[in-house]
Structure formats: C-alpha cells, structure tokens
C-alpha cells in the first residue's frame, strides 16, 4: 500500500524541496529529531535493550536460585546444554511439525481455497465468508481457545463428539488429550488462514479483467481458468505469505499455551517458543532459568533477524517484479 505512494512522494519531494529552499529555510532538523525522539526512546528502552539483554542473559546462569546478584558468566554453556538436551530435540521436531503443517494446510492452503472460492461467489456472499474468516483473528485469544476447549470436550459435553455421533461415527474422549496435534494445528490455522485469504483475494482482484475474459473466450473452464490464469499470478503473494507466516508461527505460542500448555503428558505439543517461555518464566519446578530461557529465545531471535533481513531484500525484489505488470494492464 505504501509502495505506490513512495514513488510519487519521492518525485514531488524534489520539486517541493526546490521551492521550499527558495521560499524559506529548509525544514529544521530539530523538528525532525524532536518528532522521532519519543518513538526512539520507547523503542530503545523496551525493544532494543531487551533484545541486547536477551543475548547477554543467554551467556549467564541467572535464575531464581542465583537471583539477580549471584549469577555467573558461563559463556556458551547454555547453548551447549541446548545441543545435548534430549527435550530440545523433541521440541525442535514438534516445532517443525507445527510450523510446517499449519503453514501448508491452513495459512497457505486453506487461505488459497478461501480466496478462490469467495472470488467465484457474488460480491456480497464472498464478502460475508471473508468477514466470517476474520472473526477468529479479532477474537481475543482466551475467548477463542475457550470455545475450542468446549468443542473438544468429552461426551456428552463436547461439540465435536456430538457431531460425530450424529453422523454415526464413533465418538472419542477429549480431543485435546487424545488428538492434541490436529487440534493445535487447527486452532492456530483457523486464525492464520485469514491473512493469506486477504492477500490472495487482493491479488486475484488485481488480475486484469481482459485476461479472464480472453481465457473464457478461448474456452477455458473453471479449473483451467484457475490453473492457467489465476494461480500463476498468486506465486509471489504465496511466497510472501509463506515467508511471513513461517516467522510468525515460529515465535507464536499463545494459543498452544492456552489450549494444551505443551501437553498432554511429556512435552507432546511443546514448541520452541513455548519451551523458552516455560524454561524462563513458568516451569513445574519453580526454578525459572532466565539464562537458559534467554538462550532458547536467542535462537529464535537469530532466526527472526535473518528472516527479516531476507524480507528487506524480498520487498525490494517484489517491487522490481511488480513494475512490468502495471504497464501490461
């Protein structure tokens, strides 16, 4: 949305600067600095310093036991512990499963289906379905998970089991305990699908009408239209959604924390970010290991940083690839 504006802004920027220079002194840099200062201060203290602090903490053994005074520098000891920790291996596998399945099935897969299907409906109804799919995203996480918990409950209370029974299928017990992974993936996926849906819908909308009509005149059916005309145009948006959501999923653990808290049993649905959270702030033993937790978080931070630097390049690349399309239409 800012890309189109940036171009015209830059062009008139030069013109305006020339006129301004003649009219009155250029904008005082003091105003610019003053406008930036409050933002810079808050972000520095509560975003940048914590980021640096996370890395520093990860090199210490600070915990509830040591307190904030008696901790020692342990170098890379925490990272060595992570590498040899059997639980970390399990958690890593969980994370890959969680991110991979949620991303492909819901954030990209279902999002694509929703965007395509709603595009084939009359405007009003397409809009209705899109609005419904935005609901999980705007619903506060606690309420959203509350609803799922009761859906998953054992008979006769759970809705899922009641629906299964009505269909003549065998009902299970509590779904969160018996099938935690499908539930965790669905809970997160129902929220995640909407972002891709909106981006894909916008991209479909941007396809020049003549292309669609031309394809139909040439005798393309629905499936051919989707496959030959629409899907190729969604390649870039899909890549963007996948990249962006991978990072978001890696760092998100709120819904898992509320739904299963990493359980049931022994780290069944514990993912990396949740493991860091548990280690540092809320574990069963009461000894919150800030240092080890910070090391686990640092691993995620490094991934986040690398990914966001890739975004920087990706955004530029996207701008480059978009330019010809505007000329064609």
């Amino acid at each position: 949305m800012s890309e189109s504006g940036a171009g015209t802004g830059a062009a008139s920027h030069g013109r305006a600067a020339a006129v301004l220079a003649a009219a009155r002194p250029a904008a005082p840099w003091r105003l610019g600095a003053g406008f930036l200062l409050p933002f810079a201060l808050v972000v520095a203290v509560f975003f940048l310093i914590p980021a640096v602090l996370t890395v520093i903490l990860s090199l210490t053994d600070v915990s509830v036991v040591t307190g904030l005074r008696d901790f020692r520098w342990v170098g890379l000891e925490n990272y060595r512990r992570i590498l040899t920790d059997p639980v970390a291996g399990l958690v890593l596998r969980n994370t890959l499963l969680y991110v991979g399945a949620t991303l492909t099935l819901f954030n990209v897969g279902l999002a694509l289906v929703l965007a395509l299907a709603t595009a084939f409906l009359p405007q009003r109804w397409g809009g209705f379905f899109r609005a419904v799919w935005l609901l999980p995203r705007i619903t506060p996480s606690v309420v959203y998970v509350l609803m799922w918990k009761y859906f998953a409950a054992e008979p006769p209370y759970g809705v899922i089991n009641q629906v299964l029974a009505a269909l003549g299928l065998p009902a299970g017990g509590n779904w969160l305990y018996e099938h935690p992974w499908p539930m965790v993936i669905a809970i997160n996926g129902f929220v995640g699908a909407s972002m891709g849906m909106i981006i894909f819908s916008a991209a479909i909308q941007a396809i020049p009408r003549e292309q669609l009509i031309a394809a139909q005149v040439d005798g393309a059916g629905t499936w051919a239209l989707v496959r030959r005309v629409v899907l190729p145009q969604l390649r870039w948006p899909a890549l963007f959604v996948a990249a962006y959501q991978t990072l978001s999923l890696l760092a998100s653990y709120e819904y898992i924390l509320l739904a299963t808290d990493g359980g049931p049993g022994f780290y069944t649905t514990e993912v990396w970010a949740l493991y860091a959270f548990h280690t540092a702030l809320s574990n069963y033993f009461g000894n919150a290991q800030y240092g080890l937790g910070a090391a686990l978080a640092t691993v995620l931070v490094v991934i986040g940083l690398v990914a966001s630097l890739l975004y920087l390049r990706f955004f530029n690349f996207r701008q480059l690839t978009q330019r010809p399309r505007i000329e064609v239409s």
Partner: protein, 278 residues
C-alpha cells in the same frame, strides 16, 4: 475487492459446496458461545435450560472472586493508554520519516522493517527482568510501555504509508503562506490522514483489549489484572465448575470487539492487509 471472477463466470456451485462446510465450524464456535452464556449447561449444542444466572456477575459481584468492574476498568485503561500512546508516538515518528529532514533516514526505515518483522514476544524474559529492575513490574505503566514498544514499528510503518500519499502541494501551500512545519502538520496534514489515524487507533485499542501474554507475565497482580488474564486463569483450571459464568464473562468481554468489528471493519481492513503478526 470482491467477486472479480463471479462477474466473468456464472456463480459456481462448487464454491458454495466448498465454503459452507469449511466455514461452518467457525460460525458454530460463536453460536455455541452465545448459547452457552444463557443456559444452565450445554451438552454439545443442546442447552439444558435457559437462565440469567450466568450474567449475575453484572449486578451481583462475587465477594470472593475478582471484581469484574475493576477488571473491566483495568482492561479499558490498558487498551486506551496503548491506543493513545501508539497513535501519538507513531504519528510523529512517521511524519518525521516521511517528510522531515532526518539524518540517516534510510537507516531508520530499514530498522523499522526489521523491528516490524522481528518476533518481539521472544523478548519476554528480558522485558520481565528489565521491568523488575526499573520498578515497573506489576504496574500498568510498565506493561503499557512494553506493549507500545513492541507494536510501534508496525504503526509507524502503516502511518508512513498514509503520509506518503498526502500531496506535497497541500503542505507547500501552507508553508508558502508562512505557517511553520509544526502548524502545517497539525492543521493541514493530520486532518488529511485521519482515516489512517483512526485505523491505527482502532487497531491498537482492540489489540490492547485482547492482549493476554504481556499482562499475564508482566502485570499478573490482582490490582492490575485485566479480563483476559482472569479468563486465562479460569481456562487453566482443569474442571471449571461454573462454566456458564465463564462463557458469560467471555461474551461480555467480546462485546466491544464485536461492536468495533461490525461498525469499523473498513478501518481494520486497511491494517490487516498491511500485514499483521501471525
């Protein structure tokens, strides 16, 4: 932005056959919640009896439980402060980056993108210790500042987009008439980007209203507890006895969100397409 393909094709039956079953669970979730908040108990979708008892927390506060009025006030204060703070800081910073001469402008913009994509929630441990050191742990101010900082890069990025679209001619006319940059920003530019400011404020408020993790970790004390933290604690109790009350509180907590969604959806769309975490 809708129905582009439906104009070129007859509305397809397959789209309905696909969308209805896939969307049904979402609708059922909310229908269930509404139903449950008015009934004695639920067996799946079967209400066991209609009752107003679940809502009694509104006129008959539980003397032993936390006071819902206080929780609501805390949540409201938290969300409002977050919204005001974010819009104030983002509207000035974004203007500086979009229009004023700032040294290292490109660097600032690059930092903004990196921070925006950076998973801020991974900093929870450090934030926790930092706030304790600053004496801001378990205070409203601390958790508000943390929330603002983590979301500010996103809002600056969005508002910069709005500023970029303001024509320079407006600003120049004011400047040539002798107004200062500050006056111009206040009287000419801000009114033009009002939709952006609205979108930012609405989004920030909703995000603050819904925030669970930050208050849960950084301000868990009874005095500053917010509705989501209270509901979260109810949720983690294995067998909630009065789940009718829980669903009623949940519906009560959802009301502002739903109102905003119904009436201000347009504004939200602007930001959601701008790319939101998760």
């Amino acid at each position: 932005m809708l129905g582009s393909l439906s104009e070129t094709q007859r509305p397809a039956r397959w789209a309905w056959l696909l969308l209805v079953p896939v969307t049904l669970p979402v609708l059922l979730l909310y229908a269930w919640l509404l139903l449950a908040s008015w009934s004695d108990g639920m067996e799946g979708f079967r209400p066991l009896g209609f009752t107003l008892e679940n809502w009694s927390f509104l006129w008959q506060p539980d003397p032993f439980g936390p006071n819902i009025a206080q929780l609501t006030l805390n949540t409201l204060l938290f969300a409002a402060l977050v919204a005001v703070g974010e819009v104030l800081l983002a509207s000035t910073a974004a203007y500086a980056l979009a229009r004023l001469s700032v040294p290292g402008r490109r660097l600032w913009l690059a930092m903004l993108i990196v921070l925006h994509a950076f998973p801020g929630i991974t900093l929870l441990v450090a934030l926790f210790l930092l706030l304790r050191q600053l004496g801001l742990y378990d205070t409203l101010a601390g958790v508000v500042l943390a929330k603002i900082a983590l979301e500010l890069p996103f809002h600056v990025w969005v508002l910069k987009g709005f500023y970029d679209q303001v024509s320079w001619d407006h600003e120049m006319a004011a400047l040539l008439d002798g107004a200062s940059r500050l006056t111009t920003w206040c009287r000419v530019v801000l009114p033009i980007i009002r939709p952006g400011l609205m979108a930012s404020a609405v989004f920030a408020f909703l995000s603050g209203w819904s925030e669970f993790l930050l208050p849960y970790v950084l301000a868990p004390g009874a005095d500053v507890q917010t509705l989501p933290v209270y509901l979260g604690s109810l949720l983690s109790q294995a067998d909630v006895a009065r789940y009718g009350t829980v669903t009623a509180v949940a519906v009560f907590y959802m009301i502002p969100v739903m109102l905003v969604y119904l009436f201000l959806q347009r504004y939200l769309m602007v930001l959601y397409t701008g790319g939101v975490k998760r």
